[in-house]
Amino acid sequence: MRSDGSSSAPLGLKVAATGGLLFLHLPIFLIFIYAFTTEEKSFAWPPPGLTTQWFAVTWNRPDVWEALSLSVRVAAISTLVALVLGTLCAAAVSRTRFFGRETISLLVILPIALPGIITGIALRSAFSLAEIPFSFWTIVLGHATFCVVVVYNNAVARFRRTSGSMIEASMDLGADGFQTFRHVVLPNIATALLAGGMLAFALSFDEVIVTTFTAGQQQTLPIWMLEELIRPRQRPVTNVVAMVVVLVTLLPILVAYYLTRDGDQIAGSGK
């Protein structure tokens, strides 16, 4: 197909592809309009009027701020843990052959290959068996576990592209292992790690299924939203929070995409 320049898509295909993309995007776009509606009690469309007062109302809600702060702290710590574990694992798996290598790849992927509810209930029953009370760290434990895989995927793809002879050259020139890591390996994998870290942050920031099992009484932002979805208290505030969440998750994804777009494997192509 690449040989002939005349190829243009049949009309039916164009319509179906455009329709599909609109189906994917219009609902999210709708959130932005609802954040400005004056309607408080229902989801009425079209909105009877537009206002920005709900942004001020949301700004003054301490429960929203607490949930947001917990989410950000959990996501930051989980991302750090995932960065360390994921990079170590990727470095070991991509450069050497050893017995059980395939098993380790499987082990890393399993937490997101199996439905979240299984991870969640497994962790919860383990906490109750071991009599660990719910805390900030029980949430982190769960999140870091499934964040490892995004960092791992990005780092493995980059390690595969990085030539091993550079490391040899560095060692030949007299650098020790730590210097080689600091000046040769790290600069090479830095953008992949940054991209992986961004995606891990977005994944953790948004996670709700595992969190419902490991949070106890604590509220992360997604748990706060889930409560509002099940028992709506103030719909306009939920609308504003939903819009903010869309924007907060959008940025890391775009950054991760631009950091890795020249590579053979673009970040985020598997969640």
Binding site: F43, I104, P115, T249
Partner: protein, 321 residues
């Protein structure tokens, strides 16, 4: 540093030994690459092994315990009674409902995903290609709850869909559909149809990406050759494109199927009061306090996905991931 392991036997060092603990460590790792490998693998394997696999095994173990119906206490003796409970009509009903939903969602996602993936793989170039890619990636990564919330807005009785259909004078169609048994309900947001639409919406990007990856590998001249040889577009699709895209579709269906099997939030927020596997697990472990039955319920998606992955692997779906 990670390269060291591929070196069979390091040549004797020409340089003087580096001093200090740091130098000694560096030398040690160079001479004993296995030690370095072990040190690198230890933290992730310990973490995943203890935190994840450990709790998973503990959970599976509990599915062989049973609950005492009178005291509500868990009886820690090996029994298959809990699995027997799983086969009660009400529970089988839940399993059957979930699997049917997963199959329908998978089928619908494949149908909607194919044109997008095909257009992106064959016709989109340069800037458009990037736009298509982001167009699939952004919804994939957007907040899961926000997506569900958006559909609650759309499907509500007073929402945009009803408004749109009223403008088009098609409200009779919606009312007719909602009056049907099983798929219908009071409004779309409390009907199985609503659950189905939201499942398709939320998992669709997981289908598009692998199908696109599979179609990227189909050479364009194969399609041209087929039409040169007199095949109609329909025949080309059936005999050339579809078989080549199939591994990608199967790879995508792993996600759509598995995610639908395990989800408990979508049917809870949009849908009827009839339970899905995920909701059954949640309520058994929560309000009912019956961890053994909840554990036995989680075994169902694990077993189904086990067979599914085995079949997918035989079809070569993993190469398309």
């Amino acid at each position: 540093m990670t390269l060291t392991a591929t070196q069979a036997k390091p040549a004797p060092a020409l340089l003087p030994r580096a001093g200090g603990v740091r130098g000694a460590l560096s030398d040690l790792f160079w001479r004993r690459p296995k030690l370095l490998l072990l040190l690198m693998l230890l933290p992730p394997v310990l973490w995943l092994g203890i935190v994840y696999v450990g709790s998973l095994l503990a959970l599976l173990l509990q599915s062989f315990f049973s609950i005492d119906e009178f005291s509500g206490l868990i009886n820690r003796q090996f029994t298959l009674k809990t699995y027997g409970d799983l086969l009660q009509a009400a529970n089988l009903d839940i399993i059957l409902r979930t699997v049917t939903m997963a199959a329908l969602v998978t089928l619908a996602s494949a149908i909607i995903a194919f044109p997008i993936a095909y257009y992106a793989a064959r016709y989109a170039r340069g800037r458009w290609k990037a736009l298509f890619y982001l167009g699939v990636m952004l919804p994939l990564w957007s907040s899961y709850l926000v997506k569900i919330y958006a559909w609650k807005l759309i499907l509500a009785k007073e929402g945009i869909l009803t408004w749109l259909l009223a403008k088009l004078h098609l409200l009779w169609l919606l009312d007719g559909w909602l009056s049907l048994p099983i798929v219908g309900g009071n409004s779309l947001s409390v009907s199985s149809t609503g659950t189905f639409i939201v499942f398709v919406y939320v998992w669709l990007p997981f289908m598009i990406l692998p199908v696109q990856a599979a179609l990227e590998r189909v050479p364009g001249n194969l399609v041209e050759a087929s039409s040169d040889l007199g095949a109609s577009p329909g025949q080309t699709f059936r005999n050339v494109l579809f078989p080549l895209a199939l591994p990608g579709i199967v790879a995508g269906s792993i996600f759509t199927f598995s995610l639908t099997l395990g989800d408990y939030i979508i049917p809870q927020i949009i849908g009827t009061s009839r339970l899905f596997i995920g909701q059954a697990v949640y309520s058994q472990q929560g309000t009912a306090g019956n961890i053994p039955l909840a554990a036995a319920f989680t075994v169902v998606p694990i077993v189904i996905m086990g067979f599914y992955l085995w079949g997918a692997k035989r079809m070569g779906a993993f190469d398309a991931l």
